[in-house]
Amino acid sequence: MTYFPHTPQEIKEMLNTIGLESIEDLFSEIPEEIRQKAKENFKIPASPSEIDLLEEIKNIARKNIGKDYISFLGGGAYKHYIPPFVKLVSLFPTFYTAYTPYQPEISQGVLQSIFEYQSLICDLTGMEVANASLYEAGSGIAEAALMSVRITGKKEVIASSGLNPEYISVLKTYLQAQNIELKIIPLDEKGETDVDFLEKNISPKTSGVIIQNPNFFGVIETKLKDIEELIHKNNALFILSIYPISLGILKPPSEYNVDIVVGEGQSLGIPLGFGGPYLGILATKKEFIRQIPGRIVGETIDLEGERGFVNTLQTREQHIRRAKATSNICTNEALSAISAAVYMAILGKKGIKKIAEVCFSRAHYLRERMQKEVNLEITYPNSHFFNEFVIKIPENSENFLKKLEEKKILGGIPLSRFYKDRDKEILVAVTERNSLEELEYYIKSLKEVLKKN
């Protein structure tokens, strides 16, 4: 079984046209030794039918029982409401079964949608230009760091340890490959990037500084103005990693004079999907446009002067510039970018702001109840946060979370997953999909679990 549509008669005719006798003849130049090994070792059982396959995979899917739990997991991927039309668009045949729009005249649907994605990202971040997408935030941050190296001609990147630890890990991998130095700045007692420490470590050798806001611990960085001054005084670039939904209420990066905005776009209408595909956002100032990695869609005119859209500045890209390209990226996450565009369009400014407010208010409500009613200690109690915060519990966090799992709650991410020494802290995220009943149930369950201890 396969999806080929040929009849036996056609196969015969076609072989005849080619002048061969058998299908095997089409592979005759492959050394016999190689073919023999394939014959012996290439063994994969086929499913008996589509019906069986659907059943088989449905049974595998059901093992993901965590899906049915009340979830407070965040840490870079968030359970947000996806308006149904967003999902329908990703099933439009001309979107999902198209390749990269190399032939713009028959690809205006994809191209205009991506142009609108770029525009909406600029609206959201306040930046001047955005690209057509990168894989996700981690590699996106690495690309931004490399961009700062290309632009400044310097080879030292500084990152706040408020950055998602997975992003830091990716960054290390990418920078090490090109012998670029990476310095990590600690947080202060408020859970914000330690500006004093940054001041001591930044120098005219620094190419870029990466901050995340809200940072991995949910804390809103309040000294971005100071940080920006430090960075630009040293002729480095200010790279900020953002959580798009938070920009429904938080001051946009442009107002902090950020040079490159990066971020995970998953919250903009893209399913959790066990980690991917997601969407790497990258936006910057127009002056840096020629150093942007990946594709960019631009407006143009056709022979009759009508508006149309094309991939532009392709001379930066690998298929033309090869070893000198701004990045090796070719396949990106176009369909995710389209989803994000549809998401932002259908919510609009009011909707995005409201979602941000619901996340914010429910998270603050939950944290207050945890403090006041459950007497839980909060890790950065006096810091500002958006929809995520760290709680301290009196025992090993993994044990504690297991007890919550018995009540069908995924209570948060144990910080020990990333920081071996922080084994009694949990990162709790709240979104608009956590109903008030869920918050109530979480509080109730916390009380029960703590009582048992």
């Binding site: 089409l26 099933l91 142009f115 909707g351």
Partner: protein, 478 residues
């Protein structure tokens, strides 16, 4: 029909969708200092029906495999089975957070693990990582693995060899991995010639990157000899899997001597390309490289699947989480439905279609490399130059006939190249029709060249000015 930009429909007073209300007592403006808050959000506000119409109308201004023939060379635009979409829309996959505890996400881990097993069988490699999100990402990952391996051996080799027919991603990935690239000229057969290769091999060479069949659609016959030479020189051999669909079932990179490979799930394994992505570019390595794979890997202890962060010499992460999981899922479903025989048949029919079309089209263009091809072949339109016609014109005219043009101007070693990959899912009828269209267009070239030079005519927009776009650089609606 002109479609406005969303921005042009904006009206701040329009309603948004029916969302929950925030808790009044915990509004940001009551809690956060004013200077952290934004004053306004310039995103347009339009109504739900307008959004629906906007994108629905846009979707009617496009093309895809589901609409017709898409012989874009090197891109493997085969039919994307709808069953895979249904499978990937299951909420137990789509709504699963990547940090869900392992015992509560066994299904997802099982899929990743089993896809790794299947790809190992298909490629002859020993172990896979699924973090790479695309082919180029896989190349980078593999090069970093190779680099780490060499450094660990104390070797500072810094050269990556690629044939001059290589995909542009190969040298670009080499640069990102901190290597220098040197191109090897192909011989008159269009192949890497061991004699020429010999001149480029030395102790600075870290790796030779090959795609086999190569971008001319030709199988590198001397591959065993090449592997021998590369390994003898202490370098490694890398397989760019973009063209795996030309040999799957007949030859495995592992058996040809490749040490590391990437596989494009969105090509050979038919996951849809999404207008540019997402794809997935898992990397497979031989045993001696597996300690260098990115963390985490997915393992099975006979009882339970788990994430393994304890990879001794890991290069670290190349992205967040575990890769483009929903893409993996579609590829897994594809492989499971077809099994070995189905996959092999897939290759056979892809190669049959390519050779048939080559045979039919060689009357109309030059065919620089006439031997049996694999899944694709390359023609040259330089015979049209004297008539003032470029292959770009042919491509644009094809749009008027309702088919997607082949890849043009690649590979770089063929002048006025037309790179054609019909894939196995096309009927003979479609191929014959394509030949007929080409014949018609070439007749037009003789009889009415302007209709070709000014093509396309039946598309939503006329030929677009790419130079103008790069000049004005209007890349958002501000």
């Amino acid at each position: 029909k002109k479609i406005p930009l969303i921005k042009e429909l904006n009206n701040d007073e329009k309603p948004t969708i029916h969302l929950p209300e925030p808790l009044e007592d915990f509004l940001p403006e009551k809690i956060l200092p004013k200077d952290l808050l934004r004053e306004s959000l310039p995103i347009p506000q339009i109504s739900e029906i307008e959004v629906v119409r906007h994108f629905t109308n846009l979707s009617h201004m496009g093309y895809g495999v589901d609409l017709g023939f898409y012989p874009l060379g090197s891109c493997t635009m085969k039919y994307n089975p709808k069953i895979n979409e249904e499978i990937a829309n299951n909420e137990y996959f789509t709504d699963l957070h990547p940090y869900t505890p392992e015992e509560l996400s066994q299904g997802a881990l099982e899929i990743i693990y089993k896809l790794g097993e299947a790809l190992s069988k298909i490629t002859g490699m020993d172990k896979f990582t699924f973090q790479p999100s695309a082919g180029a990402h896989g190349e980078l990952t593999a090069l970093l693995i190779i680099k780490a391996y060499l450094r660990n051996k104390g070797e500072n080799r810094n050269i990556v060899l690629v044939p001059d027919s290589a995909h542009g991603t190969n040298p670009a990935s080499a640069s990102m991995a901190g290597f220098e690239t040197i191109e090897i000229p192909s011989d008159e057969r269009g192949l890497v010639n061991p004699n020429i290769l010999g001149k480029y091999l030395n102790k600075n060479v870290a790796v030779l990157m090959l795609t086999n069949p190569n971008t001319l659609g030709l199988f590198e016959k001397d591959i065993l000899k090449i592997a021998q030479m590369v390994h003898d020189e202490g370098a490694l051999l890398y397989y760019d899997g973009a063209n795996l669909n030309g040999i799957m079932g007949y030859a495995r990179p592992g058996d040809m001597g490749f040490d590391a490979v990437h596989v494009n799930l969105h090509k050979t394994f038919s996951t849809p390309h999404g207008g540019g992505g997402p794809g997935a570019g898992p990397v497979g390595v031989k045993d001696f490289l597996k300690d260098y794979l990115p963390v985490p890997t997915v393992e099975y202890d006979g009882n339970k699947y788990y994430l393994n962060y304890q990879v001794p010499k890991t290069i670290g992460r190349v992205r967040t989480f575990y890769g483009n999981f929903l893409v993996m899922l579609k590829a897994y479903a594809y492989i499971r439905l077809l099994g070995d025989e189905g996959l092999k048949k897939t290759t056979e029919m892809a190669v049959l279609n390519a050779n048939y079309l080559k045979e039919k089209l060689k009357a109309y263009f030059e065919l620089p490399y006439p031997s049996i091809c694999k899944h694709e072949f390359v023609l040259s339109g330089k015979n049209l130059k004297e008539k003032g016609i470029k292959v770009l014109d042919i491509a644009k005219r094809l749009l008027d006939y309702g088919v997607h043009p082949p890849t043009i101007y690649f590979p770089l070693i063929v002048e006025e190249a037309l790179m054609i990959e019909p894939t196995e899912t096309e009927t003979k009828y479609t191929l014959d029709e394509f030949v007929e269209i080409i014949r018609n267009i070439l007749k037009e070239v003789d009889e009415n060249p302007d209709i070709v030079k000014n093509a396309p005519h039946n598309t939503p927009v006329k030929r677009l000015n790419e130079v103008y776009a790069a000049k004005v650089l209007k890349v958002n609606w501000k």
